[in-house]
């Protein structure tokens, strides 16, 4: 099993941009202990920021993989900079927008923004900006060899694309 931290792909423009959404739910166990109650403070369930980075990595990773028709194994190599300006509460929708900044045969860098949308009012608040670096690991500098099958873009990712209405080979 693998955690998928985005629910649906809204846009996928080849080698350019991917937009995905995630609905934050109280049913997600990870919110139950994050953050726990403390003396003088009630529980404060919010989606942990590292999982928001993972959601961006999945959004941007699909973008980078799709650029080469998923022939490359695209691995998150580096979180360049991640800045958070709001919290991801349950009952809200997160919108991940990832853009490719640079790309060559060795990998790609992406710039992303996360917005928090209130489904009640439609109000949108900027939540984070996240810069990532991806490696095409079969082209790695050290010459290491990896398994032939693409263990990055599993059926779960392909199902997500298909269910979002995108053609998958």
């Amino acid at each position: 099993m693998r955690w998928i931290w985005i629910d649906r792909i809204l846009e996928l423009e080849k080698a350019k941009r991917c937009v995905a959404i995630k609905n934050v739910s109280l049913a997600e166990e990870v919110l139950h202990d994050h953050f726990p109650a403390a003396p003088g403070r009630p529980r404060m369930p919010v989606l942990p920021n590292p999982l928001i980075i993972e959601g961006m990595a999945q959004t941007a990773g699909i973008l980078v993989g799709h650029a080469n028709d998923f022939a490359e194994k695209v691995i998150l190599a580096k979180v360049g900079r991640a800045t958070f300006t709001a919290a991801a509460w349950p009952g809200y929708t997160l919108r991940y927008t990832a853009d490719i900044e640079r790309m060559d045969s060795a990998g790609a860098s992406t710039r992303g923004t996360v917005d928090r949308i209130d489904p009640g009012t439609g109000q949108t608040v900027p939540l984070a900006t996240i810069e990532l670096l991806f490696s095409h690991i079969d082209q790695n500098r050290s010459g290491l060899a990896f398994p032939d099958h693409n263990f990055v873009f599993t059926d779960q990712f392909m199902d997500l694309l298909r269910q979002s209405g995108f053609a998958v080979k």
Binding site: G80, R102, R141
Partner: protein
């Protein structure tokens, strides 16, 4: 107007601060990317992308850090550069000071010869 070496250095310092998470004052001309600034292999891709953006240049894979030489049996034997390997490195990287490599020629040491000043010289040739 062409950029001066100081202007190029200042931009490269910003690139390295962003890519490696180091402080401004750590990025001196003589600082080695790996030994002093803690660069790891994936950081070199990051640095290439950031240099391209900062200076509006295109750096082909292997142009700045020619890994292919080190995986080519023609140029290396038992982890060390052959005469042909040294000649190839000099041909591909004329801007680098390789004097410290002459004694041992170990490939593992090669990453350590790369200094901030070498990056400055490389960029100066690209924007000339």
């Amino acid at each position: 107007m062409a950029m001066t070496q100081d202007e190029v250095f200042t931009k490269i310092r910003t690139v390295l601060v962003d890519a490696l998470g180091v402080d401004d004052d750590e990025v001196t001309p003589g600082a080695k990317l790996v030994g002093d600034l803690g660069a790891e292999s994936i950081d070199f891709l990051d640095i290439v992308f950031r240099l391209e953006k900062a200076f509006g240049i295109k750096i082909n894979q292997g142009e700045l850090f020619p890994d292919a030489i080190f995986n080519d049996p023609q140029f290396t034997v038992e982890g060390k550069l052959t005469d042909a390997g040294v000649a190839e490195v000099r041909r591909r990287l004329p801007y680098i000071d390789l004097s410290s490599l002459d004694n041992d020629r170990a490939i593992s040491e090669f990453a350590n010869v790369f200094s901030v000043n070498d990056l400055v010289k490389f960029v100066m040739t690209k924007i000339a």
